[in-house]
Amino acid sequence: MKTQGESGLHTQTVSPLISPALMAKLEQMELVSRKIFRGRMKGERRSRRKGQSVEFADFRNYVAGDDLRFVDWNMYARLDKLFLKLFLEEEDLHFYTLVDVSESMQFGTPTKLHYAKQLAASLGYIGLCRSDRVKIEPLDGNKQNTAPVFRGRKSLWQMMNYLEDLPAGSDVSLTEAVRSFCLRNSGRGILLLITDLMDKSGYQDALKYLVAQQMDVYLIHVLSQEEIDPDITGDLKLVDCEDADVAEISVSQRLIDRYRATLANFIEEARDFSSKRGIVYTMTSTERSVDRLVSRYLRQRGLVR
């Protein structure tokens, strides 16, 4: 790990996105959708649709033309009436991960972007193990549908490479990028948004777009430790890395307290905004390990089990 001193930019040497130990843990998990969505292909997931699978769903009266293979002959023998056995259809799940790749995500130790990639890889791996349709998109405002879709455990290394090469330093606003995504993807499924929400134009519109997609939305709010507990002193000129905005401060305890209060307020607002709209909000620090986040916090919130 090395630190770029003066600029405050923190970059990190490449470390594996998922450790083998975590991988083993993840294989035991599966993504849970609170809504039951229709998939595109036959998968490992029960659907509301009735279809062919081993799991019994219901009976219904026979009508002319039904496949005689599904008639419950035992019932016919007992009741002298024809009933049809219905089975649950098993479908795949669409799992989208949106990673904020703005300049501000490159801060922290490790960087928030790296943390986001780790998280995306971990959850994507769960999806791959369960034959879900995993799609990871950077929020760079790309109008083209260039992000590949990964399916099946064999796509793991492909996904890893894709994540490693994810471009960083986009200056597109969160709202603009999310809007672009929503226009291109109308399917249902689980959507995981990993961002630091540090957008001066506000994050609310972006979340509203997602809510309109009728997806099962999870918001992972990533903040670096430097943001949560800033360790700065003296007379400083703070320069915004995205828009070069300047804030001149003289650090005092009162100012730090005020900053913390503002941050707490900001998090509270985001949580409030999300929960009112059915978005599951999770705030995490880059200090918290991905393993712990996935196996404990996201499990608590019902994204995985």
Binding site: S104, I232, D235, K237, V239, E242, D245, A247, E248, L255
Partner: protein
């Protein structure tokens, strides 16, 4: 600016004024901050409200310490200004401002170097401005007469406008009339505001504060009913050393001497200073320099007389000529440095004596003194009806008419002396005949009775006479006045209640008094003719002061006359019934020329002079005597100040403490 520089010298002000720009400069030169890149200033900006701004003034706005320091510097500057509310503390509801605009108020001995009147006006302006809302004030200016400039009003702008209109005059000071006006108007029932058509009650009878702005050089106030007024005397002018001023307080032309006709001109110079003064004086006849005296020493607080002699040739002028005396040294009061008089050509007075018993008068008027100065005509009673007499009497040809035991139907346009008769009309009364009438007393101080000894005078029949108001008794008998001098318009009637010779109903004459046999009779006649025929008008008559009303009697009865003032302003006058003219526009001192408008020939000149020892004495009086009370002066030059600077200083210290706390707690810059 005097006010500013009183507290500090100019260089201190320059230093002090340089402090705020210096602080400003230091803030821009202060240490640069270390730039640190952060993911987003979003939260910081929210934490520091109004921070993400770049404009110049907003950048300053957030510099709380700079603002505080600037404020502190400015408050220190303000403290050095010694701010305070000067002027009177106008506590009350009603005020009367009396402002003296007499001649002495034109002296320029105030600390500001302006005239006393301007200084007084400045003080009153401050006072008016510090009047509480709802309180009303009245403005009266006074010199020898008072003028209500503005009656009670609470309209400050109107008061200030009227205050500006008060002009300096060259008149003397008399507080009596102003005090009368103030007391009269102090408790008005009704408004006397000319501009208001409505007759409204503006003020109830409440206590009023009377502010007198004057130098105190006013005539004695005999009576002043203070009543609801509480007077305050604000002396205007410089205190301490009396101002150096030498003024001419008298200037007159004497009688031409009998021998060579030379004329003596007298002047009196007064020094109201505590040190001796030396001046040079110049004397002009017409515009020609006649004489000059250098280094006239006038002792301190004293006067000195100087005289010039005009030889017979120089005095023998053909027309009224101005003589002028000028003090060449400039001082703070220039109005009394020049005096004027008029040298009239010598003229004999015309006296007519109408009597059926003229021998006694002929005898008495045969003295050289009378002959030299007067043409005396003697006529019998029948002359009263002659055309010549009537024309001359009406035209004012005579200077004195003496009627003995007879009276014309209309009184002539001149002074009269009437023996044993009364002027027509009911203005004069007389008693029944007393017999005998011993003379009890006579007024020896009067010029007519000067040196007239009438002890032991026998008068057989006499009547007491009673003249109109203002008459003066000259001879008194046991029962009352038997000779009285009374006014008639601009003339004098000298009425004597007895005759020398009496004529009974049968035309028989008898001696009534032995006065003609006494030495005192010719002296009496000479005095009477001299005084009543106006011979003293040789030297421009009595001193006319600016503002006085002058009765002009031209030598010829003109239909109208032009009076040209010293400033060149011409006033055309129409005659009164008695062919005399009244001129009131004597605002300025100098010589006024009376001329015939048709040919422009100058008929006479009138000299108007300040010549008032009271006005020339520029000492600002420490107290003002108002009837029975004595007012000590309120120190106007050091007015009651409400000093604000200590409070500002305390405020600055609090500010400094706040600044210190802010700096240490580092709230934000």
């Amino acid at each position: 600016m005097n006010f500013l520089f009183q507290s500090l010298p100019w260089w201190s002000w320059v230093t002090l004024l340089a402090v705020p720009p210096l602080i400003f400069l230091l803030y821009f030169l202060k240490l640069r901050r270390t730039p640190v890149q952060v993911p987003s200033t979003y939260l910081w900006s929210k934490a520091i409200e109004d921070m993400h701004v770049n404009s110049f003034w907003q950048r300053l706005r957030k510099n709380l310490l700079l603002l505080l320091q600037l404020l502190f510097a400015l408050m220190l500057l303000l403290t050095c200004l010694r701010p305070g509310c000067d002027g009177t503390e106008l506590v009350g509801e009603r005020f009367i401002f009396l402002v003296d605009n007499s001649a002495s108020m034109s002296a320029t001995d105030t600390p500001e170097g302006i005239t006393r009147l301007k200084s007084a006006k400045n003080q009153i302006r401050t006072a008016i401005q510090s009047m509480a809302a709802g309180s009303s004030a009245m403005l009266i200016s006074f010199s020898d007469s008072a003028s209500v400039q503005q009656s009670y009003t609470s309209n400050k702008s109107e008061l200030l406008r009227k205050l500006e209109q008060i002009e300096p005059t060259e008149r003397t000071s008399d507080l009596n009339e102003a005090l009368a006006a103030a007391t009269g108007l102090a408790n008005p029932g009704r408004s006397s505001d000319k501009e208001s058509q409505l007759d409204v009650q503006v003020a109830d009878a409440l206590d009023a504060v009377l502010y007198i702005y004057s130098d105190g050089g006013v005539r004695k106030v005999n009576e002043f009913a203070q009543g609801a007024l509480s007077p305050e005397y604000h002396a205007v002018g410089s205190f301490g050393d009396p101002p150096a001023n030498v003024g001419i307080t008298a200037f007159s032309i004497g009688e031409p001497s009998d021998s060579d006709g030379a004329v003596q001109v007298f002047a009196r110079l007064q020094n109201s200073d505590d040190v001796d003064q030396t001046v040079s004086v110049t004397f002009y006849v017409g515009d020609v320099l006649q004489d000059a005296v250098a280094d006239v020493l006038i002792p301190s607080n004293d006067a000195k007389g100087i005289s010039f002699e005009l030889s017979g040739a120089a005095a023998a002028v053909n027309e009224p000529t101005t003589v002028r005396l000028k003090i060449d040294n400039d001082d703070i009061f220039m109005l009394d440095n020049e005096a004027f008089a008029v040298l009239n050509p010598p003229r004999k007075s015309n006296v007519i004596i109408i009597s059926d018993n003229t021998p006694y008068f002929r005898y008495a008027c045969s003295t050289d003194a009378i002959k030299k100065r007067s043409n005396v005509e003697f006529h019998g009673a029948e002359y009263l009806n002659e055309k010549e007499y009537l024309q001359r009497a009406i035209a004012g040809f005579y200077d004195l008419a003496i009627y003995d035991s007879l009276i014309p139907k209309t009184m002539p346009q001149c002074n009269t002396m009437i023996w044993n008769e009364l002027p027509p009309g009911d203005r004069w009364q007389r008693s029944a005949v007393h017999s005998p009438s011993p003379v009890l007393d006579y007024d020896g101080s009067h010029p007519i009775m000067a040196a007239v000894k009438i002890g032991g005078l026998t008068i057989i029949n006499s009547r007491d006479v009673e003249g109109p108001q203002g008459s003066l008794s000259l001879i008194e008998s046991t029962s009352g006045s038997i000779a009285m001098l009374g006014p008639r318009e601009s003339y004098l009637d000298f009425v004597i209640g007895f005759s020398i010779v009496e004529t009974d109903d049968n035309g028989e004459t008898s001696i009534n008094s032995d006065w003609p046999k006494k030495l005192s009779f010719p002296i009496f006649m000479q005095n009477a003719i001299e005084n009543l025929s106006g011979l003293s008008s040789f030297s421009a008559g009595a001193n006319v002061q600016p503002g006085d009303l002058v009765t002009i009697k031209p030598s010829v009865p003109f239909e109208k006359i032009n009076v040209r003032g010293p400033d060149g302003m011409i006033t055309t006058l129409k005659p009164q019934e008695n062919r005399s003219f009244l001129f009131s526009n004597t605002k300025q001192s100098g010589v006024y020329e009376v001329s015939n408008p048709t040919d422009g020939e100058i008929d006479q000149r009138i000299a108007v002079n300040l010549m008032d020892a009271n006005e020339s004495n520029l000492v600002v009086r420490e107290d003002l005597n108002l009837g029975y009370s004595n007012l000590q002066r309120v120190a106007s030059q050091v007015p009651k100040r409400k000093e604000f600077w200590p409070w500002i200083l305390v405020g600055s210290l609090i500010l400094l403490m706040a600044e210190w706390i802010i700096y240490n707690r580092r709230v934000f810059i």
